[in-house]
């Protein structure tokens, strides 16, 4: 008989997520279920509002992806109104979202994901001198890990551990035998964990320069951007550039080096495809590189679909082929609907409380607040790995260059005598590496965009907004904003009637990835990635966290769809006093 594991809460993610897994006698995962246990109803709240205000509210779907929902919502309305924004506005939006990528990816790797690979307690036993030497194995210019720095950090850590309360680091899976880094490698990673806390602040300053604040920026409007003062002031632009310069150094000398180090040490898991999952991918494409208007402009990340790991065949993306299935989600409905028609009513059937006091998902029926989106009746994964895979399939020069460079370095470290095979990316390790690869690409292209903006403003173009006649364009319109959030393909669909929002649907990255089983019994991306993984110690399901975190879950994003007419089950009861 196997064991049934519940991991709830999954921490170091955005939102509320539960994973249940059934393992066999050899501790191999045979069944896996992902469930979101929170629900808010933001699309319902958007109905009836002025479409020009939708962006501010839709942004609150998520405080992590923040600005990207803001942009998609405003693009959906601009698409409906057929408004093309000025060049300055396009570049500013690219810079805002680019900075969000930098912030999100580094925070994800160091603060949300690293502790699945890095054992902090082992770092205490490291020799700082040897660790400083070790760092040179992964880059020729290591960042902030000289012997002196490492000694200081180790002393701080030792002191922290000695006083007996570990706070945020308490009760984790330390000492688990699936932690494979050496003591010295652990120390390097821990040093960068602490330094990244400082660095990510710089990325949010970059966003604040053109966005006003972060999280939840406030400088984008239907038709353009409002930060005209910030783009016409050379000192502001220079400040952005200096922060970007600093970040570039950190990405290349710390982040990429650490991912290469982890990728090499955990190479077995990449080579045997642990956590590979669906192997079918989709990208909506993003970062418009010219001003030819909606869905015609050249893009940094190409759009498309690749099925079953077949990189030789790139399927062009057609948004009308996206549907959502609710067979295993807590909503009513039988047919799969396109987001324009998307209308759902909640049908919450609850968890099953068993004698052991635990509450289990009813996996044969409905078990999550997340729907199951399908592309042309296929289950697909989205995210940084999908963008790299689609880029390779599309033979995109930029993406191919950065991806092959990383694979070559990995092949070298593994003494393969050639580059590591592309197939290594179909794994948990590959998903984590893909994020680092595109971060390097991002810092390099952003530098060019800042110059492009400065040159355009210097040429006398101060335009930041395209005028439109609201009463005329908002009578009867519909549109979509589809692009790539840091976590993957994000789409907002809006239907507008007589100046008000009639219907609103968002299908977000974590909806694609964290979705439950579909009507044909096919698994969602998280679930598929867990199947077949061996757990070293069922009491410490480190491997589950590792694979789930590799997707960078953002669950508040994924769950937000409800119709107010939804049926409420159970009685209404409010406890208004503290239970003491």
């Amino acid at each position: 008989m196997g064991k049934h594991i519940i991991v709830d809460p999954i921490t170091r993610i955005e939102g509320h997520l539960r994973i249940e897994a059934v393992i066999d006698d050899n501790n191999v995962i045979k069944e896996a279920y992902a469930s979101s246990t929170l629900f808010r109803g933001i699309e319902t709240i958007l109905k009836g509002r002025d479409p020009r205000d939708a962006g501010l509210l839709a942004m609150r779907i998520c405080g992590v992806c923040t600005g990207t929902h803001y942009q998609r919502s405003i693009e959906a309305v601009e698409h409906a109104f057929n408004v093309t924004i000025p060049k300055n506005a396009r570049i500013v939006r690219n810079l805002l979202q680019g900075a969000l990528y930098l912030h999100d990816h580094t925070v994800h790797f160091y603060h949300l994901h690293a502790l699945d690979w890095v054992d902090i307690t082992a770092a205490l036993k490291a020799d700082p001198k040897a660790a400083a030497q070790e760092a040179f194995n992964w880059t020729d210019k290591p960042w902030g890990v000289g012997e002196g720095e490492l000694k200081t950090i180790q002393e701080r850590l030792t002191k922290f551990v000695k006083q007996g309360r570990l706070g945020l680091f308490a009760n984790a899976y330390w000492g688990n035998k699936h932690y494979k880094l050496s003591n010295e490698q652990n120390l390097i990673a821990v040093a960068h964990y602490l330094q990244a806390l400082d660095m990510q602040r710089e990325a949010s300053k970059m966003m604040a320069i053109f966005g006003g604040k972060m999280p939840h920026p406030q400088s984008i409007v239907v038709g353009g951007v409002t930060c005209v003062q910030d783009i016409t002031n050379p000192a502001r632009v220079a400040e952005f550039k200096s922060l970007l310069n600093k970040y570039t150094q950190f990405v290349k000398r710390a982040y990429l080096a650490d991912v290469l180090m982890a990728g090499t040490v955990y190479a077995d898991e990449a080579l045997d495809g642990t956590g590979g999952g669906l192997k079918s991918f989709m990208s909506y494409g993003d970062f418009k590189l010219d001003d030819t208007g909606f869905y015609k402009a050249a893009q940094l990340f190409p759009s498309g679909v690749v099925l079953n790991g077949d990189l030789s065949k790139l399927i062009p993306l057609d948004q009308s082929k996206i549907t959502e299935d609710v067979s295993h989600a807590w909503y009513k409905g039988k047919t799969n609907l396109h987001p324009y028609e998307g209308k759902t009513e909640p049908e919450y059937t609850g968890l099953e409380k068993k004698e052991d006091g635990m509450a289990y998902l009813k996996t044969k029926e409905k078990y999550s607040w997340i729907k199951s989106p399908l592309y042309d009746d296929n289950r697909v994964e989205v995210g940084p790995l999908a963008r790299i895979v689609i880029g390779l399939a599309a033979k995109d020069k930029n993406i191919t260059k950065y991806a092959t460079s990383f694979l070559a370095k990995l092949g070298d470290k593994l003494n393969l005598g050639k580059a590591a095979p592309v197939s290594v990316v179909f794994s948990t390790v590959g998903r984590t590496a893909a994020r680092a690869i595109e971060t390097e690409l991002m810092v390099d292209v952003m530098m060019g965009w800042v110059d492009e903006l400065a040159a355009n403003v210097a040429s006398g173009d101060h335009s930041t907004w395209t005028e439109f006649d609201f009463d005329k364009v908002s009578k009867d319109a519909k549109g979509y904003g589809m692009a790539e959030a840091p976590r993957g393909g994000l789409g907002h669909w809006v239907v507008i009637k007589d100046g008000k929002i009639e219907n609103y649907q968002a299908v977000v990255p974590s909806t694609w990835n964290a979705a439950p089983i579909d009507y044909k019994g096919r698994l969602g991306a998280y679930e598929a990635a867990l199947i077949g993984t061996k757990v070293a110690d069922p009491e410490q399901p480190l491997e589950i966290l590792r694979t789930i975190h590799s997707f960078d879950p953002c669950i508040a994003c994924a769950v937000h769809i409800v119709d107010t007419k939804g049926k409420e089950l159970g009685s209404f009861k409010v406890n208004t006093s503290c239970s003491i």
């Binding site: 205000d53 009760n171 604040k213």
Partner: protein
Amino acid sequence: MDRRDALMKMFSAKGVKVNTNRGEAYYSKLKETMQKRLNELRNAPAASKVDINKVLEAEGLTRRDFMKWASAACAAMMLPASFTPLMAEAAELMNRVPVIWIELQDCAGNSEAILRSDAPTIDELILETISLEFNETLMAAAGHQAEEHLDEAMKTFAGKYLCVVEGSIPLHMDGQYGTIGAKGETFEEHLLRVAGSSAAVVAVGTCATFGGVPAAAPNPTGAVGVQDIVKGKPIINIPACPANPANITGTILHFVLTGQVPELDHLNRPKFAFGYRIHDNCERRAHFDAGEFVEAWGDEGAENNWCLYKMGCKGPMTFNNCSVVRYNSGTNWPIGAGHGCIGCSEPQFWDKYAQERPMADTHFKAPTGGVEKTVDEFGLGLLTVAGIGIGIHAAISAAAGKKEEV
């Protein structure tokens, strides 16, 4: 002008409704209370032994930087400069106050804000050096190990920890719209349990304070704020979307100093942060007074930093200190980036203020109505007074007044 001067100017400005000078007797008594409290803390067993001086040293900051920060923090909390040494001492003792941070119906925006921090960088250092026992976004443990640690921390620090809450609480459908843990505890049960043995509850962000975005009309999940659920505990509300981390730090410092909650307004917001309007200290205020307004995005007025009132700025109705403290280490703030204030620290702001048109031209009216009276009347009163003598502006205010009465 440095931060302290700016803050002092702000507190002494005309129209500010906070008493900034309470006389010698008041301050001596307060000092006595604080000193007593600090002595208690000094003698109490430490929750975490991280030493602020070592942290400063490691981060390359001098004692002088630290004292400068303490001085600004005093000003932010409306205390005379003579309190600076006490403030510094409080910061050094902050590691003795355990904090348990729970997330309910939220977007993690406030956790992210704390991570990115703002104001002097040292604020964040201090947040890192309190004993943060539980925070789902950052903690290493997961699943039952995480739950176990929460139970242990609650027991060890019973009656002593601050319970920080992010996110609203859904009440419809028996609270089942949000559950947590292997036993499927509802958010409401979870909140009552964790708040139950805390010393005080700090609600951060507008969702935890007033219901925020999930509670916007038609409030599909029946979302409410912490103060609607938790009774019999001191509650401090730090709204805004997300809350400014400087205000969270200020509140925690006050708790360390006095063992009590700071002085609050009628909405349980600390007066040191929410005692004045955005409009009172807005960098574009002179243009408002001169009747110079942005009339369309990207126009001449926008290029010249004119007033955003006609583009829907709700600064005159909104109580918060953004115009002085700003965001992301003082890098910028919404009005600085050319967009009006959306009133995010006010109850029901999504249904009242969060649109890009002045109140007079609002297309949208919340289906369920819901007007937060005091603040609104106050805001309109102000507009009317300020508008006199500015022909064009007075007309708008009058129109706004009429529409609002409907």
